[in-house]
């Protein structure tokens, strides 16, 4: 077990593609950090640099207090779970798990003991003598996890390990991975582009965009106070609604918006913060027409057209409110639900 420290980590492919543009991040011993960001933002590249599968163009990478920039993957004492699992197709599950131990010169009894322990933990004991192709996707995923934890490495690196599973299995494995990590307390770096995984899995969330860190914090911190319009739009589903401040000055009634931080020209409002009933706290209202009603079981999504605005806007409510398409609604927005942004810099205003 060890901490992982990234200092000014950069990756340039072929002299001109900057995939990762200077990342500073320190992951504490035993911490579970989730990397999230849109496709192509450099998540995999960053993870592979930590693993040693990709050379580091610039910066320093430490695992524990060793600088590992130039070490081979095997010498870094990490384990990786690949998106396609990368199980050795010609070996049995047992040998897939044992391979890394054999290479590290563990003796037969140690290998047997460790493989059995890992197999029990992941409930794959029954499949130990099968080849990977004789397993279902979920079972393969478990074997891939087993191969990572059997060596008891200093850190786990996981690159979208659940993205090949169906929705139900994904939820189940997500919970198991979280429990497993809590139990083993192994430092973990987990890449995903799944909202729910990002919010629920990690102790801390790192939002990447274009090879740079947009924001680091606990998932709830990031959800509650997104540091930029990008993060606001990326974390949370459906995405946060963005409205020009001027629009609210004109259309909003009961407006309490003069005390927003300086430079604010855009406000963000989460779909759940646009209420159909007036709250007790100070709030303002806007008029809107219901365009499309989407019932999604426990919650509903209301796609509305704000008065005199082109901006598509979504509302989320619990249950099924008694409204129908074409209705005119009055939306109530509490003052404290407003996220102030500056559209030129894209940043949150007022610190």
């Amino acid at each position: 077990m060890a901490s992982i420290t990234l200092e000014g980590l950069k990756k340039t492919y072929g002299g001109n593609v900057d995939a990762v543009k200077g990342i500073d991040l320190s992951i504490e011993d035993g911490e579970f950090v989730v990397l999230v960001g849109p496709s192509g933002c450099g998540k995999s590249t960053l993870l592979r640099m930590v693993a040693g599968l990709e050379s580091i163009t610039q910066g320093t990478l430490k695992i524990g207090d060793r600088v590992v920039n130039r070490l081979e993957p095997a010498e870094r004492d990490i384990a990786m779970v690949f998106q396609n699992y990368a199980l050795y197709p010609h070996m049995t599950v047992y040998n897939n798990l044992a391979y890394g131990l054999k290479n590290r010169k563990f003796n037969r009894e140690q290998i047997e003991a460790r493989v059995q322990t890992a197999a029990r933990m992941l409930e794959i004991t029954d499949f130990l003598q099968r080849k990977p192709r004789q397993l279902s996707g979920g079972q393969r995923q478990r074997v891939a996890m087993g191969r990572a934890l059997v060596r008891d490495p200093a850190a786990f690196l996981l690159d979208e390990p659940l993205s090949n599973l169906d929705a139900k299995l994904r939820v189940q494995m997500r919970v198991e991975i979280k429990q497993l990590q809590r139990r083993l307390k192994t430092t973990s770096l987990y890449v995903t582009h799944d909202q729910l995984e990002a919010m629920t899995l990690g102790d801390r969330l790192v939002v990447l965009n274009g090879g740079q860190i947009e924001q680091v914090g606990t998932p709830m911190e990031i959800y509650a106070r997104p540091a930029s319009m990008f993060v606001a739009g990326f974390i949370g589903s459906p995405a946060m609604n963005m409205l020009p401040l001027d629009y609210l000055h004109v259309q909003g009634s009961g407006a309490l918006l003069h005390d927003l931080p300086e430079n604010t020209d855009t406000v963000g409002i989460r779909p759940d913060d646009m209420l159909l009933q007036a709250p007790d706290s100070p709030h303002f209202t806007v008029e809107a027409t219901l365009v499309l009603f989407e019932a999604a079981g426990a919650e509903s999504h209301l796609y509305v057209q704000l008065a005199d605005s082109e901006q598509p806007t979504v509302i989320r409510t619990s249950g099924q409110p008694p409204v129908s398409e074409g209705d005119t609604l009055t939306l109530h927005i509490a003052r404290e639900a407003i996220h102030p942004f500056n559209s030129a810099s894209g940043k949150r205003t007022g610190g």
């Binding site: 693993a51 040693g52 599968l53 081979e72 993957p73 095997a74 990490i78 384990a79 990786m80 690949f82 396609n84 990368a86 050795y88 197709p89 010609h90 391979y99 890394g100 290479n103 590290r104 080849k131 192709r133 191969r147 060596r151």
Partner: protein
């Protein structure tokens, strides 16, 4: 698999369309094969005047004939040597080229060229390179104290034909090995690297086992090639000599039949060769269809 079915009006058109292929097969393959089988049961005197039916006598004679048994072992050595050499060199080249990124296609093109050369030309090429008095290699070998002469030394002659035959086959093997290597996901190699396997170990424990289907397929193809498709090379270099040292089964059919005019024996040898081809083909179908190893 879904294939589109065409229906033809009438009965004669499908047969007419098949006819050319059937006729060619009949004239050039089935009929000579039948002739060979028939001939193998006959004995003809040297002038072709008298033919007698001798049953399996030609076969029995062959297996008592020291020269034929010698030819069997020569063929085995030659086929195994050629297969091993061409496959290992091809695998080495393929794994090297597979690691290149920018220059891959250039090397691939260059390495495929030898395959386009006719066996006889390849033979002549090697005949020159290894010529005891004018060749480059004997000259170099002479400097390190080895007296190369494939006209007197059976071992040298065998080496020469193995080199010449293997060289031509490298291209073919190379292409298959390269394709095989490229179908192995990079993440497997990366996983093995993280699992602490050295590049050497990664090759032998991951890459090579995953290439088994390719290797097995190529092995059969190469043995067939070495046994049946190297007449031109041997004819242009050693002509089966010195003293039968490179007289493979196929070459012996030719020299006994067309030079020695012992048609009955030559036909019996052809029939044995046919049996070998059939056996190899069965092996190939049974195992390749079933995907070796995993």
């Amino acid at each position: 698999m879904q294939t589109k079915r065409m229906t033809f009006p009438g009965h004669w058109l499908p047969y007419a369309l098949l006819a050319p292929q059937v006729i060619i097969t009949l004239i050039f393959f089935i009929w000579p094969a039948g002739q060979a089988m028939y001939q193998s049961l006959l004995r003809e005197d040297a002038f072709g005047l008298k033919t007698t039916f001798v049953g399996l006598e030609n076969f029995a004679r062959l297996f008592r004939d020291g020269a034929y048994l010698n030819s069997l072992s020569v063929t085995a050595v030659f086929a195994i040597g050629t297969t091993l050499l061409s496959m290992s060199v091809a695998l080495l080249l393929a794994s090297t080229v597979n690691r290149m990124i920018r220059s891959r296609s250039t090397y691939t093109t260059l390495l495929v060229w030898p395959y386009a050369i006719a066996p006889a030309i390849a033979g002549v090429l090697w005949w020159f390179i290894f010529h005891p008095s004018i060749g480059v290699i004997p000259y170099v070998l002479d400097m390190v104290g080895y007296d190369w002469n494939h006209r007197t030394s059976g071992a040298d002659a065998m080496l020469l034909v193995v080199f010449a035959a293997a060289w031509k086959q490298i291209s073919y093997n190379f292409l298959f090995f390269l394709a095989g290597l490229q179908s192995i996901p990079q993440s497997l190699i990366e996983a093995a690297a993280i699992d602490g396997a050295s590049p050497f170990k990664r090759f032998w424990t991951i890459v090579f086992p995953l290439l088994t289907p390719t290797t097995f397929f190529l092995m059969v193809v190469n043995v067939v090639y070495a046994m049946f498709d190297t007449f031109g090379i041997i004819h242009a270099t050693t002509e089966g000599g010195p003293s039968q040292a490179t007289n493979t089964l196929v070459y012996k059919v030719y020299s006994d039949g067309f030079v020695g005019l012992n048609l009955g024996s030559s036909a019996a040898q052809s029939v044995i060769l046919m049996a070998i081809v059939v056996a190899l083909t069965i092996v190939q179908f049974r195992y390749i269809e079933r995907r070796v190893n995993y």
